[in-house]
């Protein structure tokens, strides 16, 4: 994936959340904390999720904002938040969230690159089971 998208401080590997909403808030906060998005983006991520689930397969969800919230994106970025205990995601079990913030059409190549990585079962597993930030950075850069 493109350089500079993933700030090591936005890789959180030992999180827990009671439900999908809390998990998305955690992802949103990670993006806020690295200065990639403004606060209202977090609510837009929840709004998006209410419209349609961002579960993509392989135990991974990719929460992101609505088209209307692109103004709250300061720079393209992702965060990686791992929930080892699992989150019920509308009937699917999610252990890894990749939160996404992208301006304009930036999300399309970003999602394509991410999907390509997750289509490789070994790399998907390495991400789901990562315990070190360096492992995540290695798979995603």
């Amino acid at each position: 994936m493109r350089d500079g998208l993933l700030d090591p401080r936005a890789v959180l590997l030992h999180e827990s959340a009671p439900d999908r909403t809390a998990a998305i808030r955690r992802c949103g906060r990670a993006l806020v904390e690295v200065g990639a998005v403004a606060e209202p983006y977090v609510e837009a991520m929840l709004e998006r999720e209410r419209t349609i689930s961002t579960y993509v397969g392989e135990g991974v969800a990719i929460p992101h904002g609505t088209n209307a919230s692109k103004g709250d994106v300061k720079r393209d970025a992702i965060c990686v938040v791992r929930f080892p205990g699992g989150i019920d995601w509308d009937g699917e079990r999610v252990t890894l969230c990749v939160g996404i913030a992208a301006k304009d059409d930036g999300h399309v190549p970003l999602l394509a690159a991410l999907a390509e990585i997750l289509l490789d079962p070994d790399r998907a597993r390495a991400l789901r089971e990562a315990t070190e930030v360096s492992q995540v950075l290695k798979e995603l850069t």
Binding site: R48, V56, E58, T66, V108, L111, A112, A115, E116, L119
Partner: protein, 93 residues
């Protein structure tokens, strides 16, 4: 082998939401459909596969299917891709 070529009409391309609508429709068909873009060919019912194509607004993709029901299946998916699924979202809101 039945096939159709169609231009992705969704304003933001075949990304998370329009991709999901497309994948869910493909999964309901009961006929395996392949989406082809250049060298890449992925199952239409695979979210990760469809996302990996990186199709933007105006990208031309080819849909392929075989066997009974293939023509109808392709027609329904072509109709979906020809619509702006992001505009539908605006209507939902």
């Amino acid at each position: 082998m039945a096939h159709r070529t169609v231009v992705v009409a969704s304003a933001s391309g075949l990304h998370a939401r329009p991709a999901k609508v497309f994948v869910q429709a493909a999964a309901r068909l009961g006929v395996p459909v392949t989406v082809r873009l250049g060298e890449k060919a992925v199952p239409a019912k695979s979210m990760l596969g469809v996302l990996s194509l990186g199709a933007v607004h105006g990208t031309e993709v080819t849909l392929e299917a075989d066997g009974p029901g293939a023509e109808e299946a392709l027609d329904s998916l072509v109709a979906l891709l020809s619509r702006d699924l992001d505009a539908d979202e605006a209507l939902d809101a």
